[in-house]
């Protein structure tokens, strides 16, 4: 007791040894190393995608409840869709997923211009998808297939109210999907800029991978929306 002098100051921790190799500029201080940081970010993104799966899943559940209740209306409503454009858009989106996966691969290999090029192609395919979608929206608007006061489609008066319900799901689900695509396009532009500034490489490709997880998820949503909305007319109850 007697040899401890109270100075009123907190003890100063020992000064850490100066590291010979400086940290990677993008290693956050709360991670041990880039490997741990990569795993944590992948896990975190999947936790976010869980909420997205349940978000779109909940809407699809509501869709199925009404599809089973009104099978005839759903069949007729599906014939009002442009299947050729829907199928084309599915292929376009799958191509954008391929180039997104290749962008991650280019990042893993540390090929700066390769990343930029693949992200650019992904952006082009994504924009094509949105362009075709806007064309379809315009046609549906003209046909009076927008629910509410703009609705004037009445070829089948008996089924029209239920088809309006189908179209509510159509606009809602494809609209939310398109919103995700637009956010993805913004992310692609940002990531093209970051790749151009040479911020990604074999040690640090995590962000491109996470961007890819988002983009592929949006692709998966469309893989389900395409048969749900465009391809019901083959089967009649």
């Amino acid at each position: 007791m007697s040899d401890v002098t109270y100075t009123g100051q907190t003890p100063v921790p020992p000064v850490p040894e100066v590291e010979e190799h400086p940290h990677h500029p993008f290693l956050q201080h709360h991670f041990e190393d880039l490997g741990q940081q990569h795993e944590a970010s992948t896990l975190g993104m999947w936790c976010f995608l869980t909420t997205e799966i349940l978000f779109f899943g909940g809407i699809m559940l509501a869709y199925w409840i009404y599809r089973l209740a009104y099978p005839d209306a759903w069949s007729v409503a599906s014939t009002l869709q442009n299947t050729t454009l829907g199928a084309t858009n599915t292929i376009v989106l799958i191509m954008s997923s391929l180039t997104m996966a290749l962008a991650v691969r280019e990042a893993q290999l540390g090929r700066r211009l390769g990343i930029v090029a693949m992200l650019f192609l992904t952006l082009i395919f994504g924009s094509c998808f949105l362009g075709i979608k806007m064309y379809e929206y315009h046609a549906h608007w003209q046909e009076g297939l927008f629910p509410g006061s703009a609705w004037h489609w009445n070829e089948n008066p008996e089924l029209a109210p239920k088809i309006q319900l189908f179209m509510t799901f159509y606009w809602g689900m494809t609209g939310l999907h398109a919103l995700h695509m637009i956010i993805g396009a913004g992310l692609l532009l940002w990531f093209m800029w970051r790749a151009w500034k040479d911020q990604f490489g074999p040690e640090y490709y995590g962000p491109v991978e996470i961007m890819g997880l988002y983009w592929h998820f949006v692709d998966i949503v469309w893989i389900f929306l395409f048969p749900f909305l465009y391809l019901i007319h083959g089967h009649k109850h």
């Binding site: 880039l34 741990q36 992948t42 995608l49 209740a69 799958i94 040690e203 893989i223 083959g234 089967h235």
Partner: protein
């Protein structure tokens, strides 16, 4: 899951698993074929089977994207728990809801 290299043991080195190009192109071809197949299947009258066929094709396509494009096949076991957990809860949502709707004798089904 590549448990031989990325198992439960802590692996603190950045692991880069570069998938060969042909894998990506084969998966892309399978996804495109699946799209054409689901379209063709919808033009044939399979009776009650049309809907299950479309759902199975969509699930296979989605699984291919998750496994190969999203690299789930090389991810850690903890990530697998989160991925499978997502679909488990989605399944609970569907099963319990339809256990109600489909068993209401007074409903429109």
């Amino acid at each position: 899951m590549d448990s031989a290299t990325h198992g439960t043991a802590p692996d603190h080195t950045p692991h880069v698993h570069v998938t060969p190009l042909w894998v990506y192109f084969v998966v892309f071809a399978a996804l495109a074929a699946g799209t054409i197949l689901t379209y063709l299947a919808s033009t044939v009258d399979l009776g009650w089977a049309n809907t299950p066929v479309a759902l199975v094709i969509a699930c296979v396509k989605g699984s291919l994207v998750i496994l190969y494009f999203m690299h789930a096949i090389h991810s850690t076991r903890l990530t697998w728990v989160v991925i499978l957990g997502s679909f488990l809860w989605l399944g609970v949502l569907f099963v319990l809801t339809f256990a109600d709707y489909l068993t209401r004798s007074w409903a429109i089904y």
